[in-house]
Amino acid sequence: MAEIRLERVTKKFGDFVAVNNVSLTVKDQEFVVLLGPSGCGKTTLLRAIAGLGMADEGRVLIGGRDVTYLPPRERNIAMVFQSYAIFPHMKVYDNIAFGLKMHKFDRETIEKRVLEAASMLHIEDMLDRYPGQMSGGQRQRVAVARAIAMKSQVLLMDEPLSNLDALLRLEMRAELKRLLADIGATTIYVTHDQIEALSMGDRIAVMKDGEIQQFDDPTIIYDRPANRFVGGFIGNPPMNFIEGQVEQTDGRLSVRIGGFRIAPDPAMQARLRPYHGRSVLVGIRAENMEALNHPADDALRVRVLVIEPLGAQNLLTVKIGDDIIKVSTHPSFIVAPNEDIWLRFPVDKIRWFDSDTEIAIRPEM
């Protein structure tokens, strides 16, 4: 059992608060991704778990054991570094064996584990090489092999794929996911790449300014962002936000966007009532809008600014009032710049946000 629990962890560098009062529980064998833009404190948080920078306040528990002030080697963790940090003066074999040697395993065990880890990462032919004779992708595999050879219950990964080229990253992503599912270690994976996060993690913790914004399943993070930041950070293109006015006609609430009214579904009616007379943010993903090239009663007329054919879809940049939004359409949807199209907003795909706090307004469960 290696549940990782962070309790109100704070880490400061001088006056700068890198991690602010973060509590997080990672279940045993779970794969959690810490996602956020650079400078959000995700790496600092990971290092606090690793023991490479002790938390200033709060507690770090691994498997129920308080390790807040223990040095890294007493935490029973393995780690993959962003720069791989493999030892340049050691052969691949010795690199993978390093942790085992330091933990005084016997020779046979070390050899068995090294070969096992190397074959899992398909580098068993390179054990006699020095890192200097290997490509970036191969070094990356050595770094991962070194970590999994430890068979520790906690595996920490700090942007392990960020130094690879795009194609290799795609390949490694799938391979890592399978590998990590096989070894069943509790894994915390830091990345700024939302695709990596969505595709790999059991759960994602989205961080900003040293705080966790949302900690949930990837689908929920994508579909129901907790606030405007999460919606705008996750997804490509990010979620669109349109300013809308909450109005009441005949006892029913509606949200007006330009001359167009959207009627929230009944569950939202009650939650939006306090916003009567004020504005809210309407959030909708590019692929959730339906584009028509003919007028319709339930569709909003917009002007197309840019068309980007992306193969599987066409991405349109359109203007609604003062807001610029992205709409993805089927590639067969033909339109020219500066033409008008009509957009249909499926009401169940709309997410509502408080325009001041930018926090999601959710229907009562």
Binding site: R73, A78, Y130
Partner: protein, 470 residues
């Protein structure tokens, strides 16, 4: 014609040689040749090259005649004959041992009233008139003494007693001196060469030292160079050679390991980024700015009879009378003092190199070692030291070379007599004993040692990668 177009085409495509890098490197090459290669070869040449080893004897008393044989420097010779010869203008500067004769070209009349113009050695003429510049203008023929002597003085066609006699003059006849010539005396000498063969031939007086009897002498110096082991033998047989060599090696062995360990520790302290580590760095680096002589004097001031050490020990009551540290009887104290001074002075240099090496080690690599369970000592042992290997190599080579050149500290602490080193012997041979050749031998020996040790370091402290690739 199709071919017409091809030459111009290929001309356009031909790669032109780019001379820019060669031009850019030219000043550097010249500089290196002029300031390094040339003086070094000249200097080292002194150790093995005797430029005056052999004297070439000529068949005739002229420079362009055939070489009759060669005599080594110092060979004893019989002097069979002598003869004056014009000195070629390019040789006029050298003057050691030079025996010269002056000949006058005179104009006069003989007993029969015939005009005689020719050359006479100056010893036959008494000069009576000189111009403002002390040039002789006129004189009289000296009378010959002795009853048997020929009363007439011969006048020669050329300034040479072997040339034709153009006239004979009586004593006390007035002569006009038209011209004068300085002649160098050549000797016909006979001696034995190294192979034991008897060699006979002419040599200029400047190369021959003539003994009192005027009939024998020795070859003072030769005019041709030869490789020689003589200076190296002189060095190895010098009574200070072995003590100097041993002292140098012992001091090197004592200084370097201590320096290396200290420097690594100091570098780790600086690198640990503790509060005030820059202060550490500055304190450690101060001795770098102190010259070796100054360092020697500082430690002399500490160890001398009424120095700081004795004062402190007396002040604390550990000793009653001052201890004499730096004396012939307590040579080991001199060694200790030199050792301390050198360690104190030069460790920071090693530290600087090690610090720069440490900074090149990636932070993440060290963290990885930490995460994977290496203790501080294990990190130093398995990560830092192996990765520092190139820096340590540089530091070791530098330090060893400097240790082999140990000089000023030794002079300051021992006066250069009680404890002596190779560099000190070089200095002594050159400046006190005035023997640049033996000094050059010492210097070459130090160079050879340095090169050998540097090579040894490069071979033995190779990185694993290098070993793998070889």
């Amino acid at each position: 014609m199709n071919e017409d177009s091809t030459p111009s085409n290929s001309l356009g495509r031909r790669r032109r040689r780019d001379w820019t890098p060669y031009l850019l490197i030219l000043p550097t090459v010249l500089y290196l040749l002029l300031f390094f290669a040339w003086p070094m070869f000249r200097g080292l040449g002194l150790a093995i090259w005797n430029p005056e080893a052999l004297l070439a004897l000529r068949a005739e008393a002229t420079q362009d005649s055939a070489i009759a044989g060669k005599l080594p420097q110092g060979a004893e010779v019989e002097i069979l004959e002598r003869q004056g010869n014009l000195i070629p203008p390019e040789e006029q500067e050298e003057a050691a041992n030079l025996l010269t004769e002056i000949w006058f070209k005179i104009k006069s009349q003989d007993a029969e009233g015939r005009e005689v113009i020719g050359w006479v050695p100056d010893r036959r003429i008494r000069v009576r008139e000189k111009d403002e510049e002390e040039r002789p203008l006129a004189g009289t023929v000296r009378p010959k003494l002795g009853a048997k002597a020929d009363p007439l003085t011969s006048v020669y066609a050329e300034p040479n007693e072997r040339s034709e006699v153009v006239g004979r003059l009586e004593s006390r006849v007035r002569v006009d001196i038209v011209e004068q010539a300085v002649l160098e005396v050549w000797f016909l000498v006979r001696g034995q060469n190294k192979a034991g063969e008897t060699v006979q031939g002419w040599a200029q007086s400047r190369y021959i030292q003539v003994f009192g009897d005027e009939e024998s002498g020795r070859v003072d110096r030769g005019n041709a160079g030869q490789l020689t082991a003589e200076y190296i033998q002189k060095m190895t047989q010098d009574r200070f050679f072995k003590p100097a060599l041993y002292a140098t090696l012992i001091l090197t062995l004592l200084i370097i390991p201590v320096q290396l360990v200290l420097a690594i520790v100091m570098a780790l302290v600086v690198q640990a980024r503790l509060k005030g580590n820059t202060i550490f760095l500055y304190i450690f680096a101060i001795p770098l700015a102190i010259s070796d002589l100054a360092a020697g004097i500082i430690w002399y001031a500490i160890f001398t009879q009424h120095g700081f050490l004795n004062s402190i020990l007396q002040g604390l009551g550990f000793i009653d009378a001052p201890i004499t540290y730096l004396s012939v009887d307590t040579r080991y104290w001199i060694f200790i003092a030199i050792w301390l001074a050198e360690v104190w002075r030069a460790t920071s240099l090693v530290m600087i190199i090690v610090v720069s090496g440490l900074q090149a080690i990636s932070e993440e690599v060290l963290e990885a070692a930490e995460v994977f369970g290496a203790s501080l000592w294990e990190r130093v042992r398995y990560i830092i030291l192996p990765l520092l290997r190139p820096s340590l190599q540089v530091a070791l080579i530098l330090r060893t070379i400097f240790a082999l050149q140990l000089f000023a500290v030794v002079v300051a602490l021992s006066g250069g007599d009680v404890v002596t080193t190779l560099a000190n012997e070089t200095f002594r041979q050159y400046s006190l004993l005035r023997n640049p050749h033996v000094a050059a031998s010492y210097a070459s020996f130090i160079l050879l040692l340095s090169v050998g040790i540097a090579f040894l370091y490069l071979r033995t402290i190779r990185t694993q990668q290098e070993l793998e690739q070889s």
